[in-house]
């Protein structure tokens, strides 16, 4: 059966492109968390290579688990299939989304549990519904403070030079929110404390361009997501342009927007579905920042939206014939965006009047 020619894209290539796009980010995290602390004399030789080892542990764990799964449950001894398995990126992503002080045992266990959960969901619902990298990361970030007290994001060098990053950075002035970390440019380049791989927005954007050029990711999602968050926080921040910029540059939002929300199996297939997905992700992110402040608000927003992918695709596939079919979700989204933009400043002005009364110097 035809067609008798096939495009030269294949799953293996798409995975390789994604890995390529992550390599500069991995190198950056090596420089930031390994080389700089080492050259400044804050850590020893193991500390120098620790970031690389740190990322490799979940990466290799996932590959081993996947191979074992194939052998034990699928009775497949041909392990070359693994090259076509999108899950092998999961490990790298988990590694990049965690703070450097995460206990090693969690690095090994989190991928295991997330794969088990993922396979169970696949068995029951015949589909991957929830992003496995996110389950793994969330798991670590929930267990970590339980066994270790507080989460610390600082590497050895940053302990001496920088305060902990603020993951619910909703209120404050330029002096309290940006100044301690140097300036907005540092947020863009990535020389601020945070998880291992998420800090460099600049490199994330380069990766985004690369992945979009090679048609690997669903670019509509990150664009609408980021724009939605920007628009709402712009209104919330009054006239201070630094405020919305800070909001999209921090908390690993752009990294997750580019690499996590676009994960093929857990994001919508239809163009309109993708735009709605981005809009509602932005709305949820704002809700989990201002209304129900949660440190892992972004992750939770994405997980919730994962559950709605099927619905959005249904709307999206019908709306291809008739745009009116998607009018209701769009109207709901606009109303929510409007409500949040107006409601949140009102709420905050009553409680903490410091949200935006400052100027950049």
């Amino acid at each position: 059966m035809g067609p008798f020619i096939k495009s030269n894209t294949n799953v293996k290539k798409m995975i390789m492109h994604t890995i390529n796009a992550l390599i500069p980010i991995i190198i950056f995290s090596f420089i930031k968390n390994g080389i700089i602390p080492y050259t400044k004399g804050y850590t020893n030789l193991t500390g120098l290579f620790y970031p690389i080892i740190f990322i490799l542990i979940p990466t290799i764990s996932v590959i081993i688990y996947e191979i074992l799964y194939n052998i034990i449950f699928q009775k497949q001894t041909n392990i070359s299939n693994i090259k076509n398995n999108y899950n092998i990126i999961t490990g790298i992503l988990i590694g990049l989304m965690l703070p450097i002080n995460t206990p090693i045992i969690l690095l090994v266990l989190a991928p295991l549990i997330s794969i088990i959960i993922n396979k169970l969901i696949q068995k029951i619902f015949k589909n991957t519904i929830i992003n496995p990298a996110l389950i793994g990361t969330l798991l670590v970030l929930v267990i970590y403070p339980i066994i270790m007290g507080n989460i610390s994001y600082l590497n050895k060098y940053e302990i001496a030079t920088s305060p902990e990053p603020n993951y619910i950075n909703t209120t404050g002035t330029y002096e309290t929110m940006v100044k301690p970390y140097g300036g907005l440019l540092n947020f863009f380049i990535g020389t601020i404390p945070g998880t291992i791989g998420e800090t460099s927005v600049f490199l994330c954007i380069i990766s985004f361009i690369y992945l979009t050029y090679f048609k690997v990711i669903k670019w509509k999602i990150p664009i609408t997501y980021i724009l939605t968050v920007f628009a709402i926080t712009y209104v919330i921040g009054g006239t201070n342009i630094w405020y919305p910029i800070l909001q999209i540059l921090s908390c690993g939002l752009i990294f997750k927007a580019i690499f996590i929300t676009t994960d093929p199996k857990t994001s919508p297939l239809t163009p309109i579905g993708q735009i709605l997905y981005g809009l509602f992700l932005g709305i949820l992110t704002i809700i989990f920042k201002y209304i129900i402040p949660l440190e892992q608000g972004i992750i939770i927003s994405i997980l919730i939206m994962n559950l709605l992918v099927k619905t959005l695709d249904k709307i999206g596939s019908l709306a291809r014939f008739d745009f009116k079919k998607s009018l209701i979700p769009f109207i709901i989204a606009w109303i929510m965006i409007l409500g949040l933009s107006i409601g949140i400043p009102l709420k905050y002005n009553q409680e903490t009047p410091t949200i935006n009364e400052t100027t950049t110097t």
Binding site: G2, P3, I5, K6, S7, K13, K265, D313, S317, F321
Partner: protein
């Protein structure tokens, strides 16, 4: 905006060679099929002598049209033979007397001297059908009281490998332009547009050489994206309008180059449609080229004649690489529906699990969502809303899929399911 994807061309292998002619066959097996319709009345019996062009069968119903003998000789038998639709079809076997005798010579020096009615009658008598693969009787397109304002000549051939229209236009440009202008005048059409692909500079030059005298024929270059040759896309690109079923709704008629040439022969010599140009091509042929083939000739014979195949493990495809059909054997008889016989080697493309990349959704020119159709194949209610019946079977979704899933098949299945269960 028209949607589509840039896909490989693979045309160079057959484009350089001149058009070959094959008429050495001992027998022709004229399949009793017109379009997809096999309900044909036979008008000859065993032992009859037929001229080249004698009527041997008639299609019934709304699309009445005749089938003609492609050689002169004796009807010796009936036989079932495979045709390009992959099924066995009853054929009239005629033994060639190699005289190419025709019943009555005819030549018309000025092909514009037809009234509209005579024009339609001539096309009907000569059995002219669309040679793009549909087999739709051409006279029906013109047999209307509605004003036709535009005639579009589809010379795009967006399917890879196929070059039949290209070389025909290259070698018979003068005749084709003359015919276009005649059709335009006879039917009182305001303008005619020839559409070729924007990179066909050689063709553009040739047409430019002749087009000067025809003030009402325009050449338009269209972008090289698949499926631009699909009538709806072509009309949309050139005229910026949509139609729902046939372009005539908007006063437009679309014909392809081979059909125009067949009309030329009909107007000029009253020559019935008994042969057509077919592209024989593919990586597995020694000498790919275009051949004028008489209706009912065995494809196998021609392939041997032009040098044969390279690798024994050959795959035979009728039609192009996107829309075409794999043939059970190379022993098929060629009829008016066949514009291309593609010979490649079998290659196994292993299907893997769908990664939900959404590429099949984005590329579909009729805005279907193939993968969502697949997910809902059991769910009749939802399936209906997803309108699989709109699929034009262009194959882009299967082409583009990174998991190499033949997703078009699923859409086709869904289409049949909807047709059956309403």
């Amino acid at each position: 905006m028209i949607s589509g994807v840039k896909i490989p061309e693979r045309k160079t292998m057959s484009i350089k060679n001149k058009i070959g002619i094959y008429n050495k066959m001992k027998y022709v097996y004229i399949p009793l099929i017109s379009g997809n319709d096999t309900n044909i009345t036979v008008t000859v019996k065993k032992g009859d002598y037929v001229y080249k062009g004698s009527i041997i069968g008639k299609r019934k119903g709304d699309f009445r049209i005749n089938i003609h003998s492609s050689i002169s000789g004796t009807v010796i038998d009936y036989e079932e033979k495979y045709t390009s639709n992959g099924e066995k079809v009853k054929c009239v076997v005629i033994e060639n007397d190699f005289l190419d005798a025709i019943e009555k010579e005819y030549e018309n020096n000025d092909i514009t001297k037809y009234s509209k009615n005579d024009f339609i009658k001539t096309l009907k008598d000569c059995g002219i059908v669309g040679l793009g693969g549909s087999g739709f009787p051409t006279y029906i397109k013109y047999n209307t009281t509605q004003k036709i304002h535009t005639l579009i000549i589809n010379a795009v051939e967006s399917d890879p490998y196929i070059t039949a229209d290209y070389v025909l236009l290259r070698e018979k440009c003068e005749e084709i332009l003359e015919t276009i202008d005649a059709i335009r005048e006879i039917n009182n059409i305001d303008e005619a547009i020839i559409a070729i692909k924007n990179y066909d500079t050689e063709l553009k030059q040739i047409i430019d050489n002749y087009i000067g005298t025809y003030l009402k024929i325009k050449l338009i270059l269209v972008p090289d994206i698949y499926p631009i040759g699909w009538e709806k896309n072509l009309v949309k690109y050139i005229k910026k309008i949509d139609y729902s079923n046939i372009p005539l709704e908007k006063g437009i008629v679309v014909n392809n180059v081979s059909t125009i040439y067949a009309i030329y022969e009909a107007l000029k010599y009253h020559k019935p449609l008994t042969e057509r140009i077919v592209t024989f091509t593919g990586e597995n042929l020694k000498r790919p080229q275009n051949v004028i083939v008489k209706n009912g000739t065995s494809a196998e014979e021609i392939i041997k004649k032009i040098g044969g195949i390279i690798n024994k493990d050959a795959q035979y495809i009728a039609g192009g690489s996107m829309m075409g059909k794999e043939l059970p054997t190379s022993d098929i008889v060629i009829n008016n529906n066949d514009n291309c016989i593609l010979v490649t080697t079998k290659n196994q493309n292993q299907e893997i699990e769908c990664i939900k990349c959404g590429k099949c959704v984005e590329c579909c020119p009729v805005k279907l969502s193939p993968i969502i159709i697949e997910e809902n194949i059991e769910n009749q209610e939802t399936l209906k809303k997803l309108k699989p019946e709109k699929c034009i079977e262009c194959g882009l979704c299967s082409y583009i899929c990174p998991s190499k899933i033949n997703i078009r098949n699923t859409v086709k299945k869904a289409k049949e399911k909807i047709r059956k269960e309403g």
